[in-house]
Every structure is written in C-alpha cells, then in structure tokens.
C-alpha cells in the first residue's frame, strides 16, 4: 500500500512539533515549576500544573510558530492554571505548616533552632502575603522571580508596565504595614 505524501508530511511535522516541545520542556520546566510552587506551595500540585501546561501546549501546537516569546507565553499559561487551581481548591489548606516549609526551603549551615525560627519567619511572611489584595499579591509574587522583568510581568498579567510598578509600590507599603501590625500585636 502506497503512503500518501500528505501523511508523510504530517508525520514529519508531528515529529518536529514533538522535538520543539521537548526542547521547551528541557528549557522551561523548572521555571514553570517554581512559578507554580510560589502560588500553590505544594510540590505535587506544582508538578501537576507544569504537566498540564505542556499538555495544553501540545493541544495547541499548531500555534507554536506564532508565539514570539515562549518563556513569557508558558509562564502566562502556568500562571492561569495555578490561579484557577487555587481558586477551586480554596478549602484545601496550603503547605503553611512550619515543618513543611522548613523541609522545603534551603537551610544549610543553620542549627535546628535557627531552622525552626527561619521557617516560622517564612510562614509569617507567607501569611502576610496572603492577606494582600489579589492584584498586589500577584505582582509581588511574580516580582520575586529574577528572570522576569517588569515588562514580562506586565505581559503575563495582561496589564501595562506602569500598572506593575504602581501595584508593586502599593504591595510593598501594605506588606510593611502588615508586618508592623503583626509585630506590635505579638
């Protein structure tokens, strides 16, 4: 049976897509994982979000050629996925447990007491971040990623760069107030 030239062409294109996708996974999977983890704070959920991101890319692989900046595009996809998941699973507690944070965050060269104190500090900061308004919180979380510029954050969130700056300014002020309030109430 003769195989149609179009079938050969499709097969070649499919292989090329798979190679492109594999390259994207190698290049950006860890970045996407960290973005997902910063919102979900759960390793398994973050990994699931990364897999879902690339599965979405696989489904829309025909539009891969039209994308200018793959990194920002992928971060935007994973960002929407994790926000959606967080919204749906609001009843489930995040990894706010101090012990979990102590296990996750790097604490080499610290004694057990220092490690516990550091974990408590981190947990306190996360609690304050959670109390920020959604818009300010999103900008603050994304600004912690050194590989994302304010222009890229604006592109991920779909806002202007000046909005990113003003929201970041407000977020810092609110964080300082929240931290001060928490310290005075202790």
């Amino acid at each position: 049976m003769e195989i149609a030239p179009s079938a050969v062409h499709d097969e070649t294109r499919r292989q090329a897509d798979e190679q492109t996708l594999a390259a994207l996974v190698d290049q950006y999977a860890s970045t996407l994982y960290r973005v997902a983890f910063s919102v979900l704070r759960n390793a398994a959920d973050a990994e699931d979000a990364v897999q879902e991101t690339f599965l979405r890319v696989l489904r829309h692989r025909d539009s891969l050629g039209e994308v200018r900046d793959h990194r920002v595009w992928l971060v935007r996809i994973v960002w929407n996925i994790v926000l959606d998941r967080k919204r749906r699973a609001k009843t489930r507690p995040e990894t706010d447990d101090v012990n979990d944070l102590a296990r996750v965050l790097p604490a080499s060269g610290l004694s057990a007491e220092q490690r516990t104190a550091a974990a408590q500090h981190h947990a306190h900061v996360f609690a304050c971040v959670e109390r920020l308004p959604a818009k300010e919180r999103e900008v603050m979380v994304l600004s912690a990623f050194e590989e994302l510029s304010s222009v890229e954050i604006a592109s991920v969130l779909g806002i202007t760069e000046s909005s990113v700056r003003s929201r970041l300014f407000r977020a810092r002020n609110l964080m300082a107030e929240l931290l001060n309030h928490a310290r005075s109430s202790r």
């Binding site: 079938a7 960290r34 965050l105 600004s143």
Partner: protein, 162 residues
C-alpha cells in the same frame, strides 16, 4: 539619608521579598522534565489518528471522479432510507394516558380524612304489612263516610250526663 523608620520599613519589606525570592529560586525536583515528557508522549500517542491509505485518501484522485461521487451519494441515501424504514414500522403513536386522576386533596390545615369516603347511614323505612284483600266488595258509602262521623267531638263537660 534615610530616617530610622524608613530603614526599618525597607528592611522588613526586603526581608519579606527575600523569603519570596527563596521560593522563586527553589530547584525543581529531579526528573521533572522526564516525567513531563513521558506524560506528553502518552498523551500524543493516545490522540494519534491513523492516516488514510494513499489510494483512499480524501486528497486522492478518486474523489474527483463523478462516478465515485454519485456512488457515494447513492450509498448514503440508501443507508439513510433503509435506516428510517426499519425504524418507521416500530413507531407507535402515543396512547392516551391511563393514569387515574388523584382525588383533590385540600391544602387546608387540620386533620384529613385519609381519602376515606363517607357513606351516610340510611334509616330502615317503615314496613307496611299488606292486608289481604277480602272477597266481598266494600260498600260504596263506606268509603265516603268519615271515620267517627256523627260522634261528638267535644269532651263531656263536668256535670253533664254521659
């Protein structure tokens, strides 16, 4: 030069941002890329479509032939007609509903009669015994005569002779 208050503010916020940066710098778990690729392979193989053979491919020349088109159209018509013909004899019009209408249940509060039907007790009517007919015919004036006719109606007065 910054005031101590401003310095404290900046320190607190930078501490908080440092915590967020720690999260942002976390290394991805080992083997993440491989796991993602495996999931992609499984998903892409599941959605793979078997290609048409070359001679039957929709882009082949056979679709341009008028005869082949007519044959395909006739086959579709035959299938549709045959299918509907097998369905039609089994089709039955909807019958009238045999459901018995339920008695009206009043929504008024209070005790209900639990659908009991009240049957009033009927009294036994007086039973009149039939007098057997005599063989002699009754006199004619006997019928016209009033009972106790000619008898005195008023009660006797005291002192009056009976």
């Amino acid at each position: 030069m910054n005031s101590p208050g401003e310095n404290g503010f900046a320190n607190k916020v930078s501490d908080a941002e440092e915590t967020l940066r720690l999260i942002a710098r976390l290394p991805a778990p080992a083997g993440l890329e491989e796991r993602v690729k495996r999931a992609l392979r499984m998903n892409s193989s599941a959605s793979k479509v078997v290609p048409w053979p070359a001679e039957y491919a929709p882009s082949g020349k056979w679709t341009h032939s008028a005869w082949a088109r007519c044959a395909a159209a006739a086959a579709i018509v035959a299938i549709v007609t045959g299918g509907s013909w097998t369905v039609l004899p089994h089709h039955q019009p909807a019958r009238a509903s045999k459901a018995i209408p339920l008695p009206h249940v009043s929504a008024a509060p209070g005790f209900e009669n639990a659908n009991a039907i009240r049957t009033p007790q009927t009294l036994q009517g007086p039973v009149v015994k039939r007098v057997p007919k005599s063989s002699e015919p009754a006199p004619k004036n006997a019928q016209k005569r009033k009972p106790h006719a000619g008898r005195r109606q008023t009660a006797p007065q005291p002192g009056e002779p009976k």
